[in-house]
């Protein structure tokens, strides 16, 4: 299984599913993290977490615990 958190900075993937529940999932989809969308990992913070991604032409950051639950194709 390929997870967003497995990608190295600069690598891209296509989102297959988002294995998160509740408010944060709704929020993430509203921000454009939806199935079928391409996402690129930009970098990890100096302390290894959170992660910065680019999606739909802008940059967003969230924690690794969330990135681990975003499954890629």
């Amino acid at each position: 299984m390929n997870r967003l958190s497995d990608l190295k900075p600069g690598e891209k993937g296509v989102i297959k599913s988002i294995d998160i529940d509740g408010a944060i999932k709704i929020r993430m989809t509203q921000l454009g993290i939806t199935e079928g969308e391409t996402v690129q990992v930009e970098k990890y913070a100096p302390l290894g977490d959170p992660i910065e991604i680019s999606i739909r032409g802008y940059s967003l950051c969230f924690r690794k615990t969330e990135a681990e639950r975003i499954i890629l194709v």
Binding site: A45, S59, R63
Partner: protein
């Protein structure tokens, strides 16, 4: 005819910049998501139109998630402005359209302002605005608010506002989504996906993305968020800001200003004697007002330079990066990197800092951040530190001041850990933050911030500090039986001070004047300096010898202990009022003051007692 309009759009898309351009206001702008946390109103003053405009906090969608978003949502739903101006960020056009679709779905009259056109034009992006307008049935005005382009076209379109026809394709979309909502068997995130799939089609039809996307932000971030140097760079920036504004500017300005104040005070004194003023009136003006207000104004150059750097950082886009870098640290104390922003804003003044906590995503993070933000020393505490540091550690003033911040930091970490274990057990916080592109700070914005903040500082000196200085002068000039006295030790104030003084004995400053200074600091932190200036200046002959008298009253250790107490104890009354309002609870507010003051007492006692062991 349109009479009222509301600005809405994603966080950090430029609503307040447009609001300022439309209404000629000078509201607070910055480059991070969530600068505006309250609604602000103004009037369009141009040509023959008269429209009330409301600037709303940024929202990503119309189901509110954090508190400042609720304000926007309720406004849009209930206040029924004649038209909603939906500001879109052209550099994040897909995400911006999400809210636009939601707004159109509500059926409210809408006009779109596509902002940051200058940026995407440079990238080579081409947008068929006419095609989009015909498709969606809303007027789309291209603007570049930061360079003031397109604003008058926006006003024209507002004054000639009319609703347009939607295309059949878009009508189908609206019908479908309304059916989904009505049936209620589709989950919220499925509906969101459906909206985005429509947006994808829209974009592919009307937008040709440019190839020349600037990589400046990526290059800057290679350094600022670098694995090895990211955190050292952050610390260096903070150090440099305080070194330059406190030490460098302090050395240049302090002497000149002190001499100016001294000679001003002398010539004013001479003038008053010449016109035959009553000696008590002269004393009131020179020893009360000039001394008290002057002592505070002495620090204006340093505060202004400090505000200048804070504003530059806020306008650049670096703040969101610090949240990104420090999230890991904040997580330990049950917060997220987003809490850095209220705390940093709090280094200017706790009141906006406490209000900035509205952008946080959960009730617990908000509460905790409101309680912890006053531990970050505000600008008004700066004169106190500078004064004590200059009296006892003149070579190292900026280090002393950074130490005060560090002590605030330690208090934040300690309290966070404590509360995480006891008060807010088992809560999982959410961290989701957009990182905006870096922008060259616009000097006009920065200067406006510096001016607004300095104005508050000076206004306070002219009002609260003025009145306070007069009151202090009065209370130290009369005995409890309202008899005039020349001996401050007989005065009313000394009785008040002597009454509280024993409380502070374990902290090393049991002098009645210091106790009074601490009490007056509750009104405004600058009052501490003004009070000490009025009280200690009394027996001196003219001139401005505040530092000498402080050296006579304090030892280096009791000075440190006093500074630590000031750094952590209860914030001023305006900050308490803000905390009460934002926590929406007397209980929590009282708890937070008692906690802050209690912690201050313990820390300060430790500093004094441990310090005394080493220095004896």
């Amino acid at each position: 005819m349109i009479k009222s309009a509301a600005l809405t759009g994603n966080p950090n898309c430029g609503k307040t910049t447009i609001f300022n351009a439309l209404t000629g206001s000078s509201q607070y702008v910055g480059n991070w998501p969530g600068v505006t946390v309250e609604k602000k109103t103004g009037k369009i003053k141009s040509k023959n139109v008269s429209i009330d405009v409301t600037d709303l906090p940024g929202i990503y969608s119309i189901n509110s998630y954090s508190m400042e978003e609720k304000i926007s949502e309720e406004y849009i739903r209930n206040e029924n402005p004649d038209v909603i101006i939906n500001v879109l960020d052209a550099t994040a056009i897909e995400r911006s359209f999400f809210l636009t679709l939601q707004l159109i779905e509500t059926g409210k009259p809408l006009i779109a302002a596509l902002n940051m056109m200058d940026v995407i034009e440079k990238e080579g992006t081409i947008i068929d605005l006419e095609g989009m307008t015909n498709e969606l049935g809303i007027c789309i005005v291209p603007i570049s608010a930061r360079i003031n382009k397109g604003i008058s076209e926006l006003v024209d379109n507002l004054s000639n506002f009319k609703e347009l026809e939607r295309s059949p394709g878009f009508n189908d979309y609206i019908q479908q989504i309304n059916e989904f909502k009505l049936k209620g068997d589709m989950s919220e995130d499925k509906i969101s996906s459906f909206r985005y799939s429509y947006i994808k089609k829209l974009i592919s039809q009307y937008v040709i993305l440019g190839e020349m996307r600037s990589d400046t932000t990526k290059k800057i971030d290679k350094v600022f968020t670098n694995k090895y140097v990211g955190i050292p760079v952050f610390l260096t920036i903070m150090w440099a800001i305080y070194y330059i504004s406190i030490n460098v500017v302090g050395e240049m300005s302090a002497d000149i200003f002190e001499r100016m104040l001294g000679s001003f005070s002398n010539s004013l004194g001479n003038l008053l004697v010449m016109i035959g003023a009553n000696e008590h009136i002269i004393s009131l003006i020179i020893d009360g007002v000039v001394r008290g207000v002057g002592a505070v104004l002495l620090f204006l150059p340093q505060i202004m330079v400090l505000f200048f750097f804070i504003s530059i950082l806020e306008d650049s886009g670096y703040m969101a990066r610090v949240s990104f870098i420090l999230d890991r640290v904040f997580r330990r104390i049950g917060l997220t990197g987003k809490s850095f922003i209220p705390m940093f804003v709090g280094s200017g003044c706790s009141v906006p800092g406490i209000m900035a906590a509205r952008t946080l995503d959960s009730e617990k993070e908000r509460k905790l951040t409101i309680i912890l933000t006053p531990f970050v020393s505000c600008g008004a505490k700066m004169p106190i530190y500078i004064m004590f540091a200059a009296a006892f550690f003149p070579k190292h003033t900026h280090w002393i001041i950074m130490t005060m911040y560090a002590i605030g930091g330690i208090a934040i970490i300690f309290s966070g850990l404590l509360f995480k274990k006891i008060v807010f057990k088992g809560h999982k916080e959410i961290f989701l933050l957009e990182l905006p592109d870096y922008r060259t700070p616009i000097i006009r914005n920065v200067m406006r911030q510096v001016f607004n903040r300095s104005k508050t500082f000076v206004t306070k000196a002219g009002t609260i500090i003025f009145a306070g200085s007069v009151l202090i002068w009065f209370l130290q000039g009369f005995t409890p039986g309202f008899r005039l006295t020349d001996l401050p030790s007989e005065s009313m104030l000394s009785s008040i001070g002597a009454f509280i003084a024993p409380v502070f004995r374990p902290l090393g400053f049991a002098d009645w004047k210091t106790s009074v200074a601490f009490l007056t600091g509750f009104v405004a932190k600058e009052m501490v300096v003004a009070t000490l200036a009025v009280l200690n200046g009394i027996s001196e002959s003219g001139g401005f010898e505040l530092l000498d008298s402080i050296r006579a009253t304090f030892t280096p250790i009791s000075a440190l202990s006093f500074m630590v107490f000031v750094a952590l104890a209860s914030p001023c009354i305006s900050a308490l009022a803000a905390a009460k309002r934002e926590l929406n609870s007397w209980k929590w507010m009282v708890f937070s003051v008692l906690y802050q003051t209690g912690l201050a007492y313990i820390m300060s006692m430790l500093v004094y007692n441990i310090g005394s062991l080493f220095l004896r």
